[in-house]
Subunit: 216 residues, 2 copies
DNA sequence: GTCTATAATGGGATAGAC
DNA sequence: GTCTATCCCATTATAGAC
């Protein structure tokens, strides 16, 4: 798996204006190869040799591109959250507010299922980050969480969502739904992302119980 | 945190009749202390010194009780799955079949939320197990998954659950709901398990969307 | 059953040649 | 930009005294 890698090494980020702006240029193939390994083995259990050999290089060569192993994890989390947040915000700007929840679910799932390794690692390995980078990622995650929370609250105001359950619980449940799917999916195997997204949306919105109108 | 520890060291399990029978006696406090650390730091990042110091002993003393660090992880997973499976099976034997899904959700959540560290670790760190033990835990997990799947299918036959969505998706969604709650919960903080369980059950069964009967 | 001391291994990261 | 060689240190696990 020799995805050859271009320019640049990781620099310490200076005070940048936008949150999670790119502090560096590590090639995409590089980052995604790392995401795949981190997902399979876990970040801590994955050695620099593992990373290098997946790229067909020696581990010392790895350090031509990065300063430390953690750089890769940080890039995975940063890129994932930036992409997801951007996509959802773009969706919110174009969609009719009466179907915002539905639209956000669709956007989230399509983004996340397209890059399962990246998002799985972001979810599970953020705790392995240290210092300021960890804080940055946790903040970015919280920002995204707050966007979802806001969409849920507006959904309640619009009549898209029920009002007899606190928004906190609706948000939590939605988050569960959106996140853990990465694991179920890998376990279950051969389900097409589009189908999953459709069914998950219906189950979250309509519920799993039989309706009175159903036959029995 | 000196939970003093009694007898025994880990023996290799012989061919035992029942699945996941206890091959050893490591004290409960020991195992739960390890679960707490594994959850916070991750299994691979948690050192034997960390484990020992949480118990107020030297790391070499740890090896009086276990043969290897992995013993602790295995015990966490084994005990968790045994308890959960047992509790759900007991529930299924006593409950009316028309409310089995509801009852299983309640049982699952009460068990899992009472031992969050244990179950979080079981969910996230099974991959760190090796060899036969890993297989055993994966099998136990699958058995539990199949029990839930069966409950869902019977729920569809009974009219407890809707029939217009494949049971695979209903099971997957239920699993997501039941599992990921461990993480949401820790993030959100101060919600009482009973409340969470109640709301989660309602959202899964009734859905998050506003009903026609709602005031807009 | 707990300790001190230490062996043995493997990991992240660097030096410096090509 | 990639390599070989190596440093340094943390980690798992053991030895053996008390």
């Amino acid at each position: 798996m020799n995805s050859r890698v271009p320019e640049g090494s990781v620099a310490e980020e200076k005070g940048t204006s936008s949150p999670l702006s790119s502090p560096t240029q590590i090639s995409t193939g590089f980052v995604e190869s790392a995401a795949s390994l981190f997902r399979e083995q876990g970040y801590a259990a994955c050695t620099t040799r593992d990373l290098a050999s997946a790229l067909g290089i020696q581990k010392s060569t790895l350090y031509h591109y990065i300063d430390r192993k953690e750089d890769l994890l940080y890039e995975i989390c940063r890129q994932s959250l930036a992409e997801l947040t951007g996509a959802v915000q773009a969706t919110l700007e174009t969609v009719d507010s009466s179907t915002a929840v539905r639209a956000v679910i669709a956007t989230h799932l399509s983004i996340v299922l397209a890059k399962k390794d990246m998002f799985s690692v972001t979810l599970m390995e953020t705790r392995s980050l240290t210092g300021a980078r960890r804080e940055k990622i946790l903040e970015a995650r919280l920002r995204y969480r707050n966007i979802i929370g806001e969409v849920v609250r507006e959904g309640q105001l619009n009549g898209e969502l029920r009002n007899d359950i606190e928004s906190t619980y609706l948000s939590m449940a939605l988050f569960d739904h959106l996140n853990w799917i990465l694991f179920s999916h890998s376990l279950e195997g051969n389900h097409v992302p589009e189908n999953i997204a459709e069914h998950y949306t219906r189950i979250y919105l309509e519920g799993a119980a039989a309706k009175p109108s159903d036959g029995n």
